[in-house]
Protein backbone atom coordinates (compact mmCIF):
# COMPACT_ATOMS: atom_id res chain seq x y z
CA UNK A 1 0.00 0.00 0.00
CA UNK A 2 1.00 3.62 -0.48
CA UNK A 3 0.45 6.22 2.20
CA UNK A 4 1.27 9.91 2.39
CA UNK A 5 2.69 11.34 5.60
CA UNK A 6 3.95 14.88 5.95
CA UNK A 7 4.89 15.49 2.30
CA UNK A 8 6.32 12.06 1.54
CA UNK A 9 4.89 9.02 -0.14
CA UNK A 10 5.69 5.78 1.63
CA UNK A 11 5.10 2.37 0.11
CA UNK A 12 4.67 -0.41 2.66
CA UNK A 13 4.80 -4.09 1.77
CA UNK A 14 3.12 -6.08 4.52
CA UNK A 15 2.99 -9.86 4.52
CA UNK A 16 -0.75 -9.51 5.28
CA UNK A 17 -1.75 -6.13 3.90
CA UNK A 18 -5.48 -6.58 4.49
CA UNK A 19 -4.89 -6.40 8.26
CA UNK A 20 -3.60 -2.81 7.99
CA UNK A 21 -5.90 -1.20 5.41
CA UNK A 22 -8.27 0.14 8.04
CA UNK A 23 -5.53 1.53 10.24
CA UNK A 24 -3.96 3.51 7.39
CA UNK A 25 -7.23 4.23 5.53
CA UNK A 26 -7.18 8.04 5.92
CA UNK A 27 -3.60 8.23 4.64
CA UNK A 28 -3.78 5.96 1.56
CA UNK A 29 -2.82 7.43 -1.81
CA UNK A 30 -2.91 6.02 -5.33
CA UNK A 31 -0.12 7.93 -7.02
CA UNK A 32 3.06 9.75 -6.32
CA UNK A 33 6.74 9.04 -6.56
CA UNK A 34 7.75 6.87 -3.62
CA UNK A 35 10.17 8.46 -1.15
CA UNK A 36 10.51 5.50 1.21
CA UNK A 37 9.89 1.78 0.90
CA UNK A 38 9.15 -0.33 3.97
CA UNK A 39 9.18 -4.13 3.69
CA UNK A 40 8.01 -6.80 6.09
CA UNK A 41 10.19 -9.93 6.11
CA UNK A 42 9.96 -13.29 7.85
CA UNK A 43 11.69 -13.02 11.22
CA UNK A 44 15.29 -14.14 11.56
CA UNK A 45 17.47 -13.28 14.50
CA UNK A 46 21.16 -12.68 13.79
CA UNK A 47 23.72 -14.66 15.81
CA UNK A 48 26.15 -11.78 15.50
CA UNK A 49 24.19 -8.61 16.15
CA UNK A 50 27.14 -6.26 16.02
CA UNK A 51 27.85 -3.50 18.52
CA UNK A 52 25.10 -2.46 20.91
CA UNK A 53 24.50 1.31 20.87
CA UNK A 54 21.30 1.60 22.91
CA UNK A 55 19.80 -0.67 25.53
CA UNK A 56 16.35 0.07 26.88
CA UNK A 57 13.27 -1.57 28.32
CA UNK A 58 11.58 -1.48 24.90
CA UNK A 59 14.36 -2.14 22.44
CA UNK A 60 18.09 -2.59 21.85
CA UNK A 61 19.80 -0.82 18.99
CA UNK A 62 22.82 -2.42 17.32
CA UNK A 63 25.26 -1.25 14.65
CA UNK A 64 26.38 -3.87 12.17
CA UNK A 65 28.07 -3.20 8.82
CA UNK A 66 27.24 0.50 9.23
CA UNK A 67 23.55 -0.34 9.52
CA UNK A 68 21.39 0.30 12.55
CA UNK A 69 19.26 -2.64 13.59
CA UNK A 70 16.67 -2.27 16.31
CA UNK A 71 15.47 -5.35 18.21
CA UNK A 72 12.13 -4.78 19.87
CA UNK A 73 11.69 -6.45 23.27
CA UNK A 74 8.84 -8.09 25.07
CA UNK A 75 8.54 -5.86 28.14
CA UNK A 76 7.90 -8.75 30.51
CA UNK A 77 10.35 -11.38 29.29
CA UNK A 78 12.91 -9.05 27.59
CA UNK A 79 13.01 -11.54 24.71
CA UNK A 80 13.26 -10.08 21.22
CA UNK A 81 9.97 -10.15 19.36
CA UNK A 82 10.73 -8.09 16.29
CA UNK A 83 13.42 -6.20 14.46
CA UNK A 84 13.80 -3.19 12.24
CA UNK A 85 16.67 -2.39 9.89
CA UNK A 86 17.09 1.32 9.26
CA UNK A 87 18.17 2.52 5.85
CA UNK A 88 17.85 5.79 3.92
CA UNK A 89 15.44 4.65 1.23
CA UNK A 90 14.20 1.23 2.24
CA UNK A 91 13.58 0.01 5.76
CA UNK A 92 12.91 -3.64 6.57
CA UNK A 93 11.14 -5.08 9.56
CA UNK A 94 10.06 -8.47 10.84
CA UNK A 95 8.16 -9.79 13.82
CA UNK A 96 8.29 -13.24 15.42
CA UNK A 97 4.50 -13.36 15.19
CA UNK A 98 3.82 -12.00 11.72
CA UNK A 99 0.23 -11.09 12.73
CA UNK A 100 1.31 -9.06 15.79
CA UNK A 101 -0.70 -5.96 14.81
CA UNK A 102 0.45 -3.56 17.52
CA UNK A 103 4.10 -4.50 17.20
CA UNK A 104 3.98 -4.17 13.43
CA UNK A 105 2.38 -0.73 13.40
CA UNK A 106 4.93 0.30 16.04
CA UNK A 107 7.86 -0.87 13.91
CA UNK A 108 6.43 0.96 10.90
CA UNK A 109 6.08 4.05 13.07
CA UNK A 110 9.75 3.85 14.12
CA UNK A 111 10.75 3.53 10.46
CA UNK A 112 8.58 6.48 9.44
CA UNK A 113 9.80 8.63 12.33
CA UNK A 114 13.42 8.00 11.43
CA UNK A 115 12.73 8.84 7.80
CA UNK A 116 10.89 12.07 8.66
CA UNK A 117 13.64 13.13 11.08
CA UNK A 118 16.25 12.57 8.35
CA UNK A 119 14.34 14.36 5.61
CA UNK A 120 12.59 17.20 7.39
CA UNK A 121 13.16 19.41 10.38
CA UNK A 122 10.85 17.14 12.32
CA UNK A 123 10.35 16.14 15.93
CA UNK A 124 7.96 13.59 17.42
CA UNK A 125 6.10 14.77 20.49
CA UNK A 126 3.81 12.84 22.79
CA UNK A 127 0.44 14.47 23.51
CA UNK A 128 -3.13 15.00 22.44
CA UNK A 129 -3.54 17.72 19.83
CA UNK A 130 -6.52 19.72 18.60
CA UNK A 131 -7.28 22.39 16.06
CA UNK A 132 -9.39 25.23 17.44
CA UNK A 133 -10.20 28.20 15.18
CA UNK A 134 -6.83 28.91 13.53
CA UNK A 135 -4.82 27.46 16.39
CA UNK A 136 -3.03 24.17 16.86
CA UNK A 137 -2.72 23.14 20.50
CA UNK A 138 -0.88 20.15 22.00
CA UNK A 139 -1.90 19.00 25.49
CA UNK A 140 0.87 16.93 26.93
CA UNK A 141 1.61 15.18 30.23
CA UNK A 142 2.93 11.87 31.51
CA UNK A 143 0.73 8.92 30.49
CA UNK A 144 -2.36 8.57 32.64
CA UNK A 145 -2.70 12.26 33.52
CA UNK A 146 -5.76 12.82 31.36
CA UNK A 147 -4.65 14.42 28.09
CA UNK A 148 -7.30 12.59 26.07
CA UNK A 149 -9.95 13.36 28.67
CA UNK A 150 -9.09 17.05 28.51
CA UNK A 151 -9.17 17.06 24.69
CA UNK A 152 -12.56 15.34 24.84
CA UNK A 153 -13.88 18.18 27.04
CA UNK A 154 -12.92 20.65 24.32
CA UNK A 155 -14.78 18.53 21.79
CA UNK A 156 -17.83 18.51 24.05
CA UNK A 157 -18.01 22.27 24.53
CA UNK A 158 -16.36 23.82 21.49
CA UNK A 159 -15.97 23.42 17.76
CA UNK A 160 -12.62 21.67 17.52
CA UNK A 161 -11.06 19.03 15.29
CA UNK A 162 -8.82 16.32 16.73
CA UNK A 163 -5.41 16.21 15.11
CA UNK A 164 -3.96 13.26 16.98
CA UNK A 165 -4.67 11.81 20.42
CA UNK A 166 -1.17 10.48 21.11
CA UNK A 167 1.68 11.23 18.67
CA UNK A 168 2.50 14.50 16.97
CA UNK A 169 4.84 15.02 14.05
CA UNK A 170 5.91 18.65 14.27
CA UNK A 171 7.68 19.95 11.18
CA UNK A 172 9.50 23.27 10.99
CA UNK A 173 9.07 24.69 7.50
CA UNK A 174 9.00 28.19 6.05
CA UNK A 175 9.70 29.56 9.51
CA UNK A 176 6.56 27.97 10.93
CA UNK A 177 5.81 24.88 12.98
CA UNK A 178 3.22 22.61 11.39
CA UNK A 179 1.48 19.67 12.97
CA UNK A 180 0.80 16.82 10.56
CA UNK A 181 -1.92 14.25 11.10
CA UNK A 182 -0.78 10.63 11.36
CA UNK A 183 -2.48 7.30 12.14
CA UNK A 184 -0.60 6.50 15.36
CA UNK A 185 -3.17 8.00 17.67
CA UNK A 186 -3.23 5.61 20.62
CA UNK A 187 -5.97 3.35 21.86
CA UNK A 188 -8.89 5.64 20.96
CA UNK A 189 -7.86 6.02 17.28
CA UNK A 190 -8.64 9.74 17.26
CA UNK A 191 -6.79 11.35 14.40
CA UNK A 192 -7.41 13.35 11.27
CA UNK A 193 -5.34 13.68 8.14
CA UNK A 194 -4.89 17.43 8.36
CA UNK A 195 -2.08 19.98 8.61
CA UNK A 196 -2.39 22.64 11.29
CA UNK A 197 -0.10 25.44 12.31
CA UNK A 198 1.13 24.63 15.83
CA UNK A 199 0.61 27.64 18.09
CA UNK A 200 0.46 26.48 21.74
CA UNK A 201 1.84 23.88 24.12
CA UNK A 202 -0.06 23.07 27.30
CA UNK A 203 1.47 20.87 30.00
CA UNK A 204 -1.26 19.27 32.09
CA UNK A 205 -1.31 17.91 35.60
CA UNK A 206 -4.19 16.80 37.80
CA UNK A 207 -5.22 19.23 40.49
CA UNK A 208 -8.15 19.90 42.83
CA UNK A 209 -8.33 23.47 41.56
CA UNK A 210 -7.93 24.69 38.02
CA UNK A 211 -4.68 26.66 37.93
CA UNK A 212 -3.08 28.15 34.85
CA UNK A 213 0.47 29.44 34.65
CA UNK A 214 2.45 30.76 31.73
CA UNK A 215 5.81 29.03 31.65
CA UNK A 216 9.14 30.65 30.98
CA UNK A 217 11.39 28.95 28.46
CA UNK A 218 13.45 27.11 31.02
CA UNK A 219 10.39 25.66 32.77
CA UNK A 220 8.88 24.74 29.43
CA UNK A 221 12.08 23.06 28.26
CA UNK A 222 12.35 20.85 31.34
CA UNK A 223 8.77 19.64 30.79
CA UNK A 224 9.15 19.38 27.03
CA UNK A 225 12.28 17.23 27.29
CA UNK A 226 10.31 14.33 28.74
CA UNK A 227 7.68 14.46 25.97
CA UNK A 228 9.82 14.58 22.84
CA UNK A 229 12.23 12.06 21.37
CA UNK A 230 15.69 13.26 22.42
CA UNK A 231 18.77 13.01 20.17
CA UNK A 232 20.40 9.58 19.81
CA UNK A 233 23.84 11.02 19.23
CA UNK A 234 25.84 14.23 19.30
CA UNK A 235 25.49 14.52 15.51
CA UNK A 236 21.70 14.78 15.77
CA UNK A 237 21.80 17.45 18.45
CA UNK A 238 22.01 20.67 16.41
CA UNK A 239 18.99 19.87 14.25
CA UNK A 240 17.02 18.80 17.34
CA UNK A 241 18.08 21.92 19.22
CA UNK A 242 16.93 24.17 16.40
CA UNK A 243 13.40 22.79 16.40
CA UNK A 244 13.21 22.71 20.22
CA UNK A 245 14.18 26.38 20.30
CA UNK A 246 11.38 27.11 17.83
CA UNK A 247 8.94 25.19 20.08
CA UNK A 248 10.05 27.25 23.07
CA UNK A 249 9.16 30.44 21.17
CA UNK A 250 5.50 29.34 21.33
CA UNK A 251 3.37 30.35 24.30
CA UNK A 252 3.70 27.44 26.76
CA UNK A 253 1.33 26.96 29.69
CA UNK A 254 1.06 24.64 32.63
CA UNK A 255 -2.52 23.76 33.55
CA UNK A 256 -3.41 22.09 36.81
CA UNK A 257 -6.86 20.86 36.06
CA UNK A 258 -10.04 19.12 37.06
CA UNK A 259 -12.23 17.38 34.51
CA UNK A 260 -14.63 20.25 33.91
CA UNK A 261 -15.52 23.08 31.56
CA UNK A 262 -13.83 25.63 33.80
CA UNK A 263 -10.45 24.02 33.06
CA UNK A 264 -11.10 24.28 29.34
CA UNK A 265 -12.25 27.89 29.60
CA UNK A 266 -9.26 28.89 31.69
CA UNK A 267 -6.82 27.91 28.95
CA UNK A 268 -9.14 29.00 26.13
CA UNK A 269 -9.51 32.50 27.56
CA UNK A 270 -5.77 32.80 28.12
CA UNK A 271 -5.05 31.79 24.53
CA UNK A 272 -7.67 34.11 23.11
CA UNK A 273 -6.57 36.98 25.34
CA UNK A 274 -2.93 36.86 24.23
CA UNK A 275 -1.61 40.01 22.64
Amino acid sequence: MKIKLVRSVIEIHFLHEEEYLKFFSSYLVEDGEVDLFIYQDKYEEDEDKGERKIESKYYDLFIKNNQEIQYQKDEETSLYKGKLIYDEKSMRFASVDEHDFYLIILLVQYAVTRFLQNNYECILMHGSSISYKDKGIIFTAPSGTGKSTHARLWKKYYDIVYINDDKNYIVKEDGKLNLYGNPWSGKHHLDNNIIVNLTHLVFLYQNKENVLKKLDKREAFLKLMTQVVTPLSEDDFDKWNDIVDALLELPCYSLGCRIDKEAVDLIKNAIEGEK
Binding site: K53, I54, E55, S56, D216, K217, R218, F221, L222, M225, T226, T230, P231, L232, S233, E234, D236, F237, N241, V244, L248
Partner: protein
Protein backbone atom coordinates in the same frame (compact mmCIF):
# COMPACT_ATOMS: atom_id res chain seq x y z
CA UNK B 1 40.27 13.65 30.87
CA UNK B 2 37.79 14.60 28.17
CA UNK B 3 34.09 15.24 27.60
CA UNK B 4 32.23 11.95 27.22
CA UNK B 5 29.77 13.04 24.51
CA UNK B 6 26.92 11.73 26.68
CA UNK B 7 25.75 15.24 27.52
CA UNK B 8 25.11 18.31 25.42
CA UNK B 9 25.00 21.92 26.47
CA UNK B 10 21.56 23.45 25.96
CA UNK B 11 21.26 27.21 26.21
CA UNK B 12 17.88 28.72 26.97
CA UNK B 13 18.01 32.48 27.19
CA UNK B 14 20.54 33.16 29.93
CA UNK B 15 20.30 29.65 31.37
CA UNK B 16 22.71 26.85 30.60
CA UNK B 17 21.77 23.25 31.10
CA UNK B 18 23.61 20.02 30.40
CA UNK B 19 21.15 17.45 29.07
CA UNK B 20 21.74 13.72 28.61
CA UNK B 21 21.58 12.32 25.07
CA UNK B 22 21.41 8.84 23.51
CA UNK B 23 21.57 5.90 25.93
CA UNK B 24 22.29 8.35 28.73
CA UNK B 25 18.90 10.06 28.19
CA UNK B 26 17.18 6.70 28.63
CA UNK B 27 19.06 5.95 31.85
CA UNK B 28 18.75 9.40 33.38
CA UNK B 29 15.79 11.71 33.61
CA UNK B 30 17.64 14.74 34.88
CA UNK B 31 19.68 17.68 33.76
CA UNK B 32 22.64 19.53 35.26
CA UNK B 33 22.26 23.27 35.76
CA UNK B 34 25.34 25.37 35.14
CA UNK B 35 25.76 28.79 36.72
CA UNK B 36 27.77 31.41 34.88
CA UNK B 37 31.13 30.40 36.38
CA UNK B 38 30.59 26.69 35.87
CA UNK B 39 29.51 27.43 32.28
CA UNK B 40 32.83 29.20 31.72
CA UNK B 41 34.71 26.26 33.22
CA UNK B 42 32.70 23.84 31.06
CA UNK B 43 33.56 25.86 27.96
CA UNK B 44 37.23 25.71 28.94
CA UNK B 45 36.94 21.94 29.29
CA UNK B 46 35.39 21.67 25.83
CA UNK B 47 38.46 23.49 24.52
CA UNK B 48 40.50 20.61 25.96
CA UNK B 49 41.89 22.46 28.96
CA UNK B 50 43.08 20.46 31.99
CA UNK B 51 42.51 21.00 35.71
CA UNK B 52 45.58 23.17 36.16
CA UNK B 53 44.57 25.40 33.24
CA UNK B 54 41.08 25.79 34.70
CA UNK B 55 42.59 27.02 37.95
CA UNK B 56 44.70 29.54 36.02
CA UNK B 57 41.58 30.64 34.18
CA UNK B 58 39.76 31.39 37.44
CA UNK B 59 42.78 33.23 38.83
CA UNK B 60 43.03 35.37 35.70
CA UNK B 61 39.34 36.24 35.58
CA UNK B 62 38.15 36.29 39.18
CA UNK B 63 39.36 37.78 42.41
CA UNK B 64 40.00 34.48 44.19
CA UNK B 65 42.92 32.92 46.04
CA UNK B 66 44.85 30.02 44.52
CA UNK B 67 43.49 27.74 47.27
CA UNK B 68 39.87 28.68 46.60
CA UNK B 69 40.27 28.36 42.83
CA UNK B 70 41.94 24.94 43.14
CA UNK B 71 39.24 23.72 45.50
CA UNK B 72 36.37 24.99 43.31
CA UNK B 73 37.83 23.53 40.12
CA UNK B 74 38.54 20.21 41.79
CA UNK B 75 34.99 19.96 43.17
CA UNK B 76 33.53 20.91 39.80
CA UNK B 77 35.57 18.23 38.01
CA UNK B 78 34.60 15.57 40.55
CA UNK B 79 30.95 16.49 40.09
CA UNK B 80 31.24 16.22 36.30
CA UNK B 81 33.05 12.89 36.57
CA UNK B 82 30.35 11.49 38.85
CA UNK B 83 27.76 12.30 36.19
CA UNK B 84 30.06 11.01 33.43
CA UNK B 85 30.13 14.38 31.73
CA UNK B 86 33.88 14.00 31.96
CA UNK B 87 35.73 10.73 31.57
CA UNK B 88 39.37 9.76 31.90
CA UNK B 89 41.27 9.26 28.65
Amino acid sequence: MKLSGKWKLKKIGNDSILMPIGQNALDLRRVINLNSTSLELYEQLSLGKNEEELVSYLLANYDVSKEEASKDVHEFIIKLKESKVLIDD
